[in-house]
Amino acid sequence: MAKTIPAIAVERVTKVFGAGASAVRALDDVSVTIRQNEFFTLLGPSGCGKTTLLRLIAGFDHPSAGTILLQGTDISHLPPYQRSVNTVFQSYALFPHMTVAQNIGFGLEMLGRPKVEVSETVAAMLKLVRMEELRDRRTDQISGGQQQRVALARALAPKPKVLLLDEPLSALDYKLRKEMQIELKRLQNETGITFIFVTHDQEEALTMSDRVAVMSQGKILQIGSPREIYDHPAERFVADFIGDTNFLAALVVSAEGRRAVLRLSSGSEVGADLPEGMAPGMVEGGKVTAAIRPEHATLMTGNGDLRGVLENIVYFGTDTHYHVRLSDDAAFVVRSQNLRDSAEAFQTGQPVEIVLKPDAVQVLRD
């Protein structure tokens, strides 16, 4: 069975800025493997290290420790012009003294490709991003969305092995951003190039990616498909950063393999999933935090897993959020879709019970 070489392999990379007491560890022993032809996203808040990691892959900086491999070759200390990796910058960084066509052809020129090949590729790229009429415009005369597409075309023209995108959609307005998300996905499919996408917008990450790496404070907390990350967050930070979450304090009654039985504050017991890296023996008998999404809970008047008082009802058009104060004083939010003629009408102040969907409770690592 032939193992396909990963597009990018980051092995135990650390990056430290500064020295001594004021040293900042932007990346701390980070390892990740990105597959060929994958749309991979680095997701996290500002300062988490995602842009630093991107810059190390691109070659604009060198790791303080660890290696970076491009299709098996060690590129850790190669200059950027010797790596078959191209970047779409957050500010686009289009050359203002050149036209759109000259910008797009720049990489191929630098590689010494013959003029015919360059102009053919430029034409193909213009067609790909649908910018043919603007080919001879100067780049400071086109709109932000158009600049973004030129930046994309410019980075794709030299047919790199990997394309890096540093929050490319952050400057666009909502509608344009949605269009570009679809556009990027289409491009990735058509060209077959591995995309590594950096963003702080979790919605973007979930909609576009094949896999997501959630980062915080220089470490990768969890890697998985959007569904895995959303349904089975392994850490409190991941659960909190993506979507809304309810956190429950619970006691582990028993644990086996990847499942455990938890006793909640109300006394009821529910089944829950254990995250990777948490052995059953470690947690049996101990206190843990569990997470469950608001839409995986249902509000009832009786027979629930949790008991509390309904404090607030917030109407959102498509959904309604019910804010409940549980018996142990914790807050809990239940989300339910406003389908036609939903049966029960609740009122604030009313004692309520909450039913948790089986298999939706996740024990968190911290």
Binding site: A58, G59, F60, P79, P80, Y81, Q82, V85, N86, T87, F89, S91, A93, F95, P96, H97, F106, G107, M110, L111, R154, A155, P158
Partner: protein
């Protein structure tokens, strides 16, 4: 019956008398120069009584051999000095801007702008003494001394606009070029240099004007008979004043105005 006029609306920025003083200043700044220019066309020989329009002083200056030689020398020196100073200043600007502080950066910067801080007469005296020493030791004379002196004090004038232009440049552009397979030299040639060019041009023009206009240092460093236009004029002012000086001044004025105008136009286009 006159109606009561409404009080003037409140103007935030007005200060009593400032506009009047300012406008007077502008008039006073230009009046002497304009008078000078007008009287260069005077058919008479004084600079107070208008005798009619004439080109005679321009013709006189044009055919005056001393003026010709001085003019040529001024242009020679200014061209060499501005080109040399601009090249030196460009390299120095690349070495001192957009960089993390390293030991000696302040010293380099201080040395480059030092001619602006030291009174011109002190520099003139220093060069006089220094070049005299060398002349005695080696016997080498010639226009070279003036050229190197001019190059030196033109460097800061070329350096400052180039530095300003460089500092305003987006660093990401060069990163993008490297990302697109441009080696450091190619990045410089195809991205950095074209974007710096307006600054370099501005620096060169400034240096040219400064060299052309220099009086003090040239006066001290020159050997006998090695006049530039300004030193020629200085000599004439002591001896015999005729509107010929007005004519020469007007021409020099014209050059300065032309250069400053181009400088402003370039800057405005790239603001």
């Amino acid at each position: 019956m006159a109606a009561r006029s409404t009080p003037a609306p409140f103007t935030l920025k007005r200060q009593t008398g400032f506009t009047a003083v300012a406008l007077t200043c502008f008039v006073m700044l230009y009046a002497p120069i304009i008078t000078l220019v007008i009287f260069s066309f005077n058919a008479g020989t004084t600079m107070a009584v208008w005798d009619g329009f004439s080109w005679r002083w321009y013709q006189a200056a044009w055919s005056n051999e001393a003026v010709q030689r001085a003019a040529l020398r001024s242009l020679e020196i200014a061209t060499v000095a501005s080109i040399s100073a601009t090249i030196l200043a460009t390299m120095a600007a690349l070495g001192t801007t957009r960089t993390q502080r390293f030991r000696g950066l302040t010293v380099i910067y201080a040395m480059i702008v030092q001619p602006l801080m030291v009174p011109e007469i002190v520099t003139a005296v220093a060069l006089l003494i220094f070049f005299a020493m060398i002349k005695v030791a080696t016997g080498v004379t010639g226009i070279f001394y003036l050229m190197i002196a001019h190059t030196a004090f033109c460097v800061p004038f070329a350096y400052l606009p180039i530095r300003a232009r460089l500092e305003g440049m987006d660093l990401t552009l060069e990163t993008a070029a490297a990302d697109l397979y441009a080696t450091p030299w190619m990045t410089f040639r195809r991205v950095t240099l074209p974007l710096m060019w307006p600054g370099i041009l501005a620096g060169a023009m400034l240096a040219f004007v400064i060299s052309l206009d220099d009086v003090v240092i040239t006066e001290f460093v020159k050997s006998a008979g090695e006049d530039t236009l300004p030193t020629y004029m200085l000599g004439q002012i002591r001896r015999a004043i005729t509107p010929e000086i007005n004519a020469i001044s007007t021409v020099l004025l014209g050059i300065s105005v032309a250069v400053v105008s181009i400088f402003f136009l370039i800057n405005r286009k790239n603001a």
